[in-house]
């Protein structure tokens, strides 16, 4: 039971962020800024929850902040044609510096105890239900079809009367929302904001997305796998494994290692959305 709790706590943020990455990348916008969205949300949730004493307001504010950041990414890449990776890098850096500033400026250091929280179970339900919903969305709705079409070939989609820009802004708003939830879940679990607390989980989510071939269910499975790795790491920390004491850095690197190996050989041809990162 304890183990399942840990597993869901560690996997939930990955699931939410990976699904956020999915809507973005499926629309054709490369997104390495998931980390930044999550961090922004985590910080704003903490600050606003404390300021208002209301965790719901806090979370809503966090989501709004992450959505704004995601829309900024859409604006930079679509309206200003900035390279998707560069825009993503910029947003991550802004998030890192900005949250550090916000945290220092507004957190009352003399204050004791944790921030007001909404129950973790809410996040768990959202995180684990989402992949199925997203799968249905892509398969069974007009919006899902248009998202796939725009991500594969925006020009052809436009010819068919679909507005790629609108689809992409909507997709990025969803990315912001989901990454915002992910950040809120992380800060809720931790009880307080600490600098850089998302600790690369946005990138792990991205790795899961790639490993899962940009499909909701396989991506969710990859997230679960990575979540299980984290759980295992917590359990095994300090203990001997195969007679060797593996450093924690090894465990941290493992998800990336798995992704690289999988990309290199086992998955064969890349199945990325064909229009990813183009215009």
């Amino acid at each position: 039971m304890e183990l399942i709790f840990i597993l869901s706590t560690l996997t939930g943020p990955l699931l939410l962020a990976a699904m956020g990455g999915l809507t973005s990348e499926r629309s054709g916008i490369m997104n390495i800024a998931l980390e930044g969205f999550m961090l922004t949300s985590a910080c704003v949730v903490a600050v606003v929850s404390v300021a208002t004493g209301n965790p719901v307001v806090g979370v809503l504010a966090g989501l709004a902040a992450a959505i704004v950041m995601a829309l900024l990414h859409a604006l930079l890449t679509q309206a200003y044609r900035i390279d998707h990776i560069i825009s993503g890098m910029a947003i991550n850096l802004v998030a890192l510096g900005g949250t550090n500033f916000l945290d220092k400026r507004f957190t009352d250091l003399s204050r004791q105890g944790e921030i007001p929280q909404i129950p973790m179970l809410v996040f768990d339900v959202l995180a684990f239900g989402l992949p199925v919903l997203l799968w249905l969305y892509l398969k069974r709705t007009r919006g899902g079809l248009r998202l796939l079409a725009v991500g594969n070939d925006p020009d052809k989609a436009r010819q068919m009367g679909v507005d790629p820009i609108r689809v992409r802004y909507a997709a990025l708003a969803a990315t912001g929302l989901l990454c915002g939830l992910s950040g809120a879940m992380i800060v809720t679990n931790a009880g307080r904001f600490t600098d850089g607390m998302t600790a690369g989980r946005g990138f792990i989510a991205l790795a899961a997305l790639i490993l899962g071939g940009w499909k909701p269910i396989p991506t969710a499975v990859a997230c679960l796998g990575f979540g299980a790795l984290y759980t295992l790491q917590l359990q095994l920390q300090g203990s001997q494994l195969f007679g060797a004491n593996l450093p924690s850095q090894f465990w941290n690197a493992l998800p990336y290692l798995v992704t690289v190996i999988a990309m290199a050989g086992f998955l064969g041809k890349s199945r990325a959305p064909a229009g990813l990162g183009k215009e």
């Binding site: 007009r142 079809l145 248009r146 009367g161 679909v162």
Partner: protein, 520 residues
Amino acid sequence: MGHCCALRAAGRKGVRRLTPHVRLRGIDKRFGSVVALEAVSLEVEKGTIHAIVGENGAGKTTLMKVLYGSHPPDDGTIEVGGEAVAFRDSADAIRHRIGMVSQHYSIIPELTCLQNLILGAEPAAFLDEQAIEARAQMLAAKMGFSFAWSEPAANLSPAGAQKLEILKLLWREADVMILDEPTAMLSPADAEALFESLTALADQGRTILLVTHRLPEVLRFCKRADVLRGGKNVATTEVAETSAGQLAEWIVGHAMSEPVVGSFEPGEAVLETRGLTVRGDRGDEAVRGVDVLIRSGEVVGLAGVDGNGQRELYDALVGVGEVLAGDVFMEGADIGRLNPGERIARGLRLIPEDRHTQGVIEDWSLEANAALGLHRLGDLRRGQWVHAPARRRLAERIAERFRTKHGGLHQPMRSLSGGNQQRFVAARSLEFAPRLMLAFQPTRGLDIDGTQAVYEAIRNRCREGAAALVASFDLDELLEHCDRIVVIRGGRIYEPPAPQARDRNAIGRLMVGAEAGLSA
């Protein structure tokens, strides 16, 4: 639903003679300082196939995009069914039941056939797959088409993709159907079937605008034709009252000369293959034991329906295909083990099938593309470097040869229209004394003048001692321009017997596998 449409169509029929289905008046369109269309007017009668003919860059496609809403005009009016309309984008035009199949198709290969069919015209926010498939099946059955609906569209043949495009228009209940060069990628038999479908649709009251450069299609299937030249409408005619010669003269603005195939003495063998067998995409033998002999001076046409091994044969000759067995000799030397660069150094040149992906690097400048593949030849090579002034002279020469229209040699290749890219790629293959030219649809997207010029240049090189193999899906083009024609079918080469060497029907039978003499 169907009933209501029938009523509306009947209502229009009453005023058909007074009001054309589509009327464009005084359309102007400029791109920057370039005038693409100037005061173009056009009237299209309901229930007919109406041809828009003209050279590349004459403004045909631009005019159609004006009607389809993707290029709003700078001036002029559009009327559809007697009602003045102004389209801001394609979605607007689609709402007015105008549909367009563009030259490069708008099918997204990663989506399924069904998803492609409904994209942009989904019946509801939530997709009821069964109901959608039922209606799709019904539309397809009406046209005599069949599709594996849940297969990715990537698996479609060019003819299949074309059929799906037409079905997309029907799905959207388009009354006005614009088809831009619809037969460019089809075999003669598929093209024939397409026109059968189009004629049936016109008979049902749909209005079809056909953009084409193939005059036989115009003469056989269209009722009226408008000729564009230099962005202006230079002639409007009933097809019954004109001829191919007259149309061609309007199109180019001067009388055409007949191509001179002429006689010559074939010289030494330039290309010889013995038992060449090449692996295909799916691991099968796409080319099976092919023996080809091409002599100096000859232009040999390779006829065949798309997908019969042409691509694999070319890949093997260029040096990128996977040869399973057999030998390739060039001027007596075994080149089977040479890489493409070494073959190019020996004088092999390629005009690839798909210029976008195989012929040019679109982000590079024209100048950089000029030296692509040729960078080790002649005065281009300067130690480990490419000699920049020589490259510039080369690019100038290449752009000059077929009058490629460009905005400067430093502009990226993607700034050129498809036809102009083709001119550039074709001209490049003629540089540095080629010995063997392998051309795959060398005039794809070119107009009459351009086609003539390219074939003439290839033939001149051959008369100087080189040899050429030209693959095309357009048999008429090969018959017009080649000295000799061989057929590829199922990866094997067939040569029509001497008395029928230029007999269109005999060659056609070889292409589809109906043995000569049996069905004659």
